[in-house]
């Protein structure tokens, strides 16, 4: 086995029924070349179970898992390599750093087979790569969240694994910190070229990381490809909702304006018309349009002089506070859901029955096949 010289493909074809009566059956075939492949889907879609199967922590009912020519699991040949022999690195959502060991001791944990000198060299190298060398003598409990994520990555990657599994490892970090960790991960992988499976249900992370995306829903792969193809035109309603599209509206294409790259869609049976980016459709086709509630602007008077093409007049149906924001439901012939800040609610004197105008940019309208 040598994951550093060859560039092995991770190929998976497994089936695993959940024990205990839950209806989820994981039935997945996928291939991940070196580089970052994102596994995207709602919670409970089976993403973590899939990673557990790959790492050997859970045994699939049937199927085959290979990295390059190495068989890690093959139900037909009764091969099931135990986790400690798979050379697959796995960073859990909880990170699972050993609380009683220092950062350096955590990192050295997977290097017990090496002689002392080599162990120290490799530890020093990886601590530097992930910028945690100053924390080498600190315990996980004494460092920040971002530092812990870096330490966990360093601990997993120091073993020169054949593949890396990341289960929402950057949850709870701010965007800047995320970006800097991802940058270091990319730099590391530019040299090592191993398949990295990155599980997330966050749109932002998909945008920031995406080489390839595999969308998983109810234990099955529902689509794969570049992030733009998989997510910006969400193919499945649930996926769209998972990705934060609160508005999913069906409509009829009225006409295509190809020079402008747009088309007009009438929503439902109403008179409400909106302009959306040009898609694979022709006049008269039924389409679904997905719009995030956070992408809709509200105005208390008819707005003028805006670049946004969609300005819809409507009547406020309800206004509910959810945490630090308000959810407004507005009837424009069809019902839209928009998110508004408490400040805006006060400034616009928003209330039920009030007449309002919705403003939606053309490119905030996503076409769903």
């Amino acid at each position: 086995m040598d994951g550093e010289i060859t560039q092995p493909m991770l190929s998976v074809h497994i089936r695993k029924a959940h024990r205990g009566g839950a209806s989820l059956v994981l039935d997945v075939s996928l291939e991940a070349p070196p580089g970052i492949t994102i596994l995207f889907g709602p919670s409970g879609a089976g993403k973590s179970t899939l990673l557990d199967c790959l790492a050997g922590l859970v045994s699939p009912d049937s199927g085959k898992i290979m990295i390059g020519e190495d068989v890690l699991f093959d139900s037909a040949a009764r091969i099931n390599v135990p986790p400690q022999k798979r050379r697959i690195a796995y960073v859990f959502q909880s990170l699972a750093l050993f609380p009683h060991l220092t950062v350096a001791q955590n990192v050295e944990y997977g290097l017990s087979e090496l002689v002392e000198r080599e162990r120290q060299e490799r530890t020093a190298d990886i601590l530097e790569t992930f910028r945690v060398e100053k924390l080498r003598n600190q315990k996980p409990g004494e460092i920040s969240g971002g530092e812990r994520q870096r330490a966990a990555l360093a601990r997993s990657l120091v073993t020169a694994p054949c593949a890396l599994l990341l289960d929402e490892p950057l949850t709870g970090l701010d965007a800047e910190l995320k970006a800097s960790i991802v940058k270091d991960l990319r730099a590391w992988n530019a040299a090592k070229r191993i398949p990295i499976l990155y599980v997330t249900h966050s749109r932002e992370e998909v945008d920031a990381l995406g080489d390839r995306v595999i969308a998983i829903e109810n234990g099955r792969v529902v689509s794969h490809g570049a992030p733009m193809d998989v997510l910006d035109a969400p193919r499945r309603k649930r996926l769209a909702q998972a990705a934060g599209f609160e508005n999913l509206l069906s409509g009829t294409v009225l006409d295509l304006r190809e020079p402008d790259g747009v088309m007009r869609v009438r929503l439902g049976e109403s008179k409400c018309e909106i302009e959306v980016p040009l898609g694979h459709a022709s006049a008269g086709d039924r389409v679904q349009v997905a719009i995030r509630a956070g992408d809709i602007l509200l105005a208390s008077e008819r707005p003028r002089g805006l670049s946004a093409r969609n300005i819809l007049e409507g009547r406020m149906l309800s206004l509910e506070q959810r945490g630090a924001m308000f959810v407004a439901r507005v009837d424009c012939g069809v019902t839209f859901v928009a998110h508004v800040t408490p400040g805006a609610v006060r400034a616009l004197e928003l209330a039920a029955e009030k007449q309002v105008w919705l403003v939606v940019k053309t490119h905030s309208c996503h076409l769903v096949d």
Partner: protein, 226 residues
């Protein structure tokens, strides 16, 4: 040998043996997926609810000249097991078993499973995971097990009386000594020993609670960091 020294020797041997056996049994009980493990759990907990005389009675039968253990012992060592120090150790191990095993199970189960999985994917087998992750994180449980089985053995009476009888220097432990002295109206001597046992019991419990409240965790952390 004084009855106090004998009691300490007995309690020390029992605690040491129980730490070893108890760790094995507790590890298995904490991590096994066998559906019938409640059977073993019940057997381990039996001494908690049985009167010591019942346990002692059956231990005596088993260790007697016609009992299976007694016969085995005779074949191996050429003498019987009942009314000997070894017999006392054996019966006490059974009697104090839950006091060692229960805290060990609790602390093994308290170790985050994700840490064990992390250890496995980092290439460690079960033994290495046990030594480097479970054991250091279970130290308070091990101390509790050691101290409780020691203290419980120190204070036992019924089992010792049934299995050991009352042979000075061989099986007369301090609790039996106290009983003896009360019977012969030596209240001053009895009080002496009783006070001593009281003090020991209190110290031991303070130790257990302090460890579990992590009073000494900073010191422990410094020690494991080396």
């Amino acid at each position: 040998m004084s009855s106090l020294a004998l009691s300490f020797e007995l309690a020390g041997s029992v605690a040491a043996i129980l730490l070893l056996i108890g760790t094995l049994v507790a590890y298995w009980l904490a991590y096994s997926n066998w559906r019938g493990k409640f059977l073993l759990e019940s057997i381990v907990a039996l001494p908690l609810v049985l009167p010591p005389t019942v346990l002692g009675f059956y231990a005596l039968l088993a260790m007697g000249p016609s009992g299976p253990l007694g016969k085995l012992w005779m074949a191996l060592f050429g003498h019987g097991l009942a009314f000997t120090f070894s017999g006392l150790v054996l019966a006490s191990v059974v009697y104090s078993f839950p006091f060692a095993v229960q805290p060990l199970i609790a602390s093994f189960e308290g170790v985050d499973r994700k840490l064990l999985e992390a250890s496995a994917v980092l290439g460690a087998g079960k033994w290495r995971t046990f030594r480097r992750v479970i054991l250091p994180l279970s130290l308070p449980g091990m101390v509790t097990a050691l101290v409780l089985s020691f203290a419980h053995t120190l204070g036992e009476f019924g089992v010792v009386l049934m299995v050991g009888g009352n042979l000075a220097g061989v099986t007369r432990t301090v609790s039996i000594d106290i009983y003896d002295r009360v019977q012969s109206l030596e209240y001053g001597e009895a009080n002496h020993l009783a006070l001593l046992l009281l003090a020991i019991a209190f110290t031991v419990l303070c130790l257990v609670y302090a460890v579990n409240r992590r009073v000494w965790m900073p010191a422990w952390a410094r020690w494991t960091a080396k």
